[in-house]
């Protein structure tokens, strides 16, 4: 019988430096909240855009912490990065501006970029001054990402890119976008070949970015047109034609982070504080149960982080975390409704209501972004030998 069914989540090694870092970040954030530096928001890694705040984090050395020192990093462990991101999330800090660059584009550049790219861009990302958007989805390509139509043709000295990218979070404030494009004709038998990722400066001639308002009222994602946009040879990330492999491993790594279970924790925190004084048995059961699940999900997510540290590739485990975690982020809001009905648009200074209402309006996205939960279940089923 299959042994792959045994999923194992080892404990990460947490030394004093990790704990110290956590306390530092926590203290900084509490201070910022007290000083009115930011107002806590729900789903802050997607909804809270504040480049100024990102720069503050960069100045404190809290971005790109795992990268080599020569590129502006601090050569800390993935766990150090993990606790920083956790603390930012539960505080509801406005971190969207740098989130993708710190989590995904930076590591991608580090792994596949040219030396020049690493020298010029990574220190700026780590400083919270350079932001990068993800150009994967398109009008006709969502879950079926290999079907992208954006096309890059080789021209003298580089490539010319034409196409449309959709839903790119934060592109309106980003200087760059990583664009997945087709670089050779589509072959239906080898659909995953012939794709390449490019790092495209968004101020290049021929690029236009238009904000799209989401149902919560925030204009956080975008539609971007590329009309014969020229990029030099060295804008290619990794090897021509290898885009698919890069993307899938990139996505696998970002799946199990704390933002896949803590997007709405800030609401639960507030709710608990408000309820503590009068908590009865029933409410304690409902709310205590949520804390139990968070703890278990966190143990799983940390387990994946530990597996990554050990050099393993826990694709299935990471997908399990994201599937369970994102559904739970939604559940939290549904369960809190029992005690705090969510109905009015205005909050009249009631922070908890504001967070609840905003969470409700944002939660449909949790189980879509970064690969839908149906796609994740497919990956899990494959890992269990069913596909």
């Amino acid at each position: 019988m299959s042994e792959t069914i045994r999923f194992n989540f080892p404990a990460p090694v947490i030394d004093d430096s990790v704990d110290r870092l956590r306390k530092e970040v926590r203290a900084f954030l509490q201070e910022e909240i007290r000083n009115g530096g930011f107002r806590p928001v729900t789903d802050c890694w997607c909804s809270g855009i504040d480049p100024e705040f990102s720069r503050k984090l960069g100045q404190r050395g809290w971005l790109g912490v795992t990268w080599p020192k020569e590129y502006g990093g601090r050569e800390l462990s993935a766990l150090h990065r993990y606790v920083i991101t956790e603390e930012l999330l539960v505080a509801g800090a406005p971190v969207h501006a740098h989130w993708i660059a710190d989590r995904q584009s930076g590591p991608l550049i580090l792994a596949t970029g040219t030396e020049e790219m690493k020298r010029t861009l990574l220190p700026r990302i780590a400083a919270g001054e350079c932001f990068v958007a993800l150009g994967l989805s398109e009008p006709e390509s969502g879950s079926d990402l290999a079907s992208v139509r954006t096309r890059a043709y080789p021209v003298e000295g580089g490539w010319e890119i034409t196409g449309t990218k959709l839903w790119s979070s934060g592109a309106q404030i980003c200087q760059y976008m990583t664009v997945l494009a087709r670089t050779s004709e589509r072959d239906d038998k080898k659909r995953h070949e012939g794709l390449t990722q490019f790092l495209v400066p968004l101020d290049s001639p021929g690029v236009s970015v238009r904000g799209i308002r989401d149902m919560s009222g925030v204009e956080h994602f975008n539609e971007s047109h590329f009309e014969q946009v020229f990029v030099p040879e060295n804008a290619v990330l990794g090897s021509v034609g290898e885009g698919w492999t890069q993307i899938t491993s990139e996505l696998a790594l970002e799946r199990a982070g704390p933002e896949r279970l803590l997007s709405t924790f800030v609401v639960l925190e507030k709710a608990f504080l408000q309820a503590a004084a009068t908590m009865n048995g029933h409410q304690a059961t409902v709310m205590g149960g949520m804390l139990a699940r968070i703890r278990a999900l966190r143990a799983m997510s940390l387990g994946v982080a530990a597996l990554l540290e050990q050099g393993q590739y826990p694709e299935v485990e990471a997908s399990l975390v994201k599937d369970l975690g994102t559904r739970f982020e939604q559940d939290i809001i549904e369960r809190l409704r029992e005690f705090w009905p969510i109905q009015l648009k205005q909050s009249f200074g009631d922070d908890l209501h504001y967070l609840l209402a905003d969470s409700l309006l944002r939660q449909p996205s949790f189980t879509l972004r970064g690969g839908t939960n149906e796609v994740l279940k497919g990956i899990i089923a494959r890992g269990m030998g069913l596909r």
Partner: protein, 366 residues
């Protein structure tokens, strides 16, 4: 593997695996429920010394870590073990903590999480439900309250008023009425043992068993949907089935992660029955998540199995019936959720207003 293990621990587990595989097939489990004692299995478990896994070497035991014992229990649950190994392991550890002697016989813990029987004038009075008094059990280990402090009493089953009952899965869950009963032995006061601590420990045992059984249920399900063909293809090729399997795997993985963090937490305490506030959160998490998962995993596994899973002969039902009982024992998900909720609310009440921002997270992330 599961919790971090030493090499010798691994050897013991491998031995157990072989032993269970040889002597505890699905037929043995069913036969036991129908009244045939699994003599070969019971003897083999004894000969391998498994009941002494948690007993320190100084007291004549194996001296295994907490992690080893919980792994063993989890493995046993993966065979729907037709023997009270977990109850015996805990009983022997409790005896060791109390200073009483171990015996080479089936010894089980008699503790249901409710109020402890009380000691007065050397006699014991109280009611204990859900006692695993299987045929062949020779000695009962009963934690009793001596004016709020725990001592351990032992009894021979024949000397007591015992009403035999069974769990949904046919496991012995007897009702024992102690009416000024004279114990065979009575330990001095046991240091570092509390009612809460016993409750936590036993809850984690059940959570661990649920996790082990669910792993087996997922194995059965995956094997079944790969094998069974309908509409010209294996069931596992249908996306609807794949998603059920993925959901089931997720719940089971979550329970594993929760159980593992609790075992790690408890392992850090020199006194595993002391019941500290830190271990409360970890153990409660494990029991909540495992008990919740029990409902989901059994529902999905049965749905994927069709009528076959509903038949007595097919092994799935032995696991579903067990986890349905286990999830209720030593506190359901509702009980432990409430404990967490009230404990956290209590902490929040005691800190000054304005000092609370981030407190819940601070507690959760401990």
């Amino acid at each position: 593997m599961g919790f971090e293990m030493e090499q010798t621990d691994q050897l013991i587990l491998d031995t157990a695996q072989r032993l269970f595989a040889d002597h505890c097939g699905a037929d043995v489990v069913n036969a036991t429920e129908n009244g045939t004692e699994p003599t070969r299995l019971l003897n083999a478990i004894f000969e391998a010394g498994l009941p002494l896994a948690w007993v320190p070497e100084a007291a004549g035991g194996v001296g295994g870590s907490l992690a080893l014992g919980f792994n063993l229990i989890r493995k046993a649950a993966g065979f729907a073990l037709a023997a009270p190994l977990a109850e015996t392991m805990v009983a022997n550890r409790v005896l060791a903590e109390s200073g009483l002697e171990m015996e080479a016989s089936w010894t089980v813990l008699v503790f249901d999480g409710g109020p402890l029987p009380t000691l007065a004038d050397g006699k014991i009075t109280g009611l204990v439900e859900n006692a695993p008094v299987y045929p062949g059990v020779a000695r009962l280990v009963v934690p009793v309250s001596d004016q709020g402090i725990i001592r351990i009493a032992t009894f021979v089953p024949d000397t007591l008023e015992i009403e035999h009952r069974e769990s949904l899965a046919g496991e012995s869950r007897a009702r024992i009425q102690l009416n000024k009963a004279s114990p065979l032995e009575l330990s001095p006061v046991v240091d570092g043992m509390s009612e809460h601590g016993l409750m936590q420990f036993c809850a984690l045992v059940r959570a661990c068993q649920i996790a082990g059984a669910m792993e087996k249920m997922n194995e059965l399900t995956v094997a079944y949907v790969k094998e069974r063909q309908q509409f010209g293809r294996a069931l596992g090729k249908f996306q609807a089935i794949q998603h059920k399997v993925a959901d089931s795997a997720g719940e089971s993985a979550l329970a594993n992660a929760a159980v593992e963090q609790a075992v790690r937490e408890l392992s850090e305490h020199p006194r595993p029955f002391s019941g500290s506030a830190d271990s409360l959160l970890s153990v409660a998490t494990a029991k909540v998540v495992a008990s919740e998962a029990a409902g989901t995993v059994s529902r999905l596994a049965h749905q994927c199995h069709g009528a076959m899973g509903f038949s007595y002969e097919y092994p799935l039902q032995q696991y579903s019936r067990r986890i349905w009982s286990w999830r209720e024992e030593y506190g359901s998900e509702f009980y432990w959720s409430e404990r967490i909720g009230l404990a956290v609310a209590e902490e929040l009440k005691h800190s000054a207003p304005g000092q609370n921002d981030g407190r819940v997270w601070e507690i959760v992330s401990r």
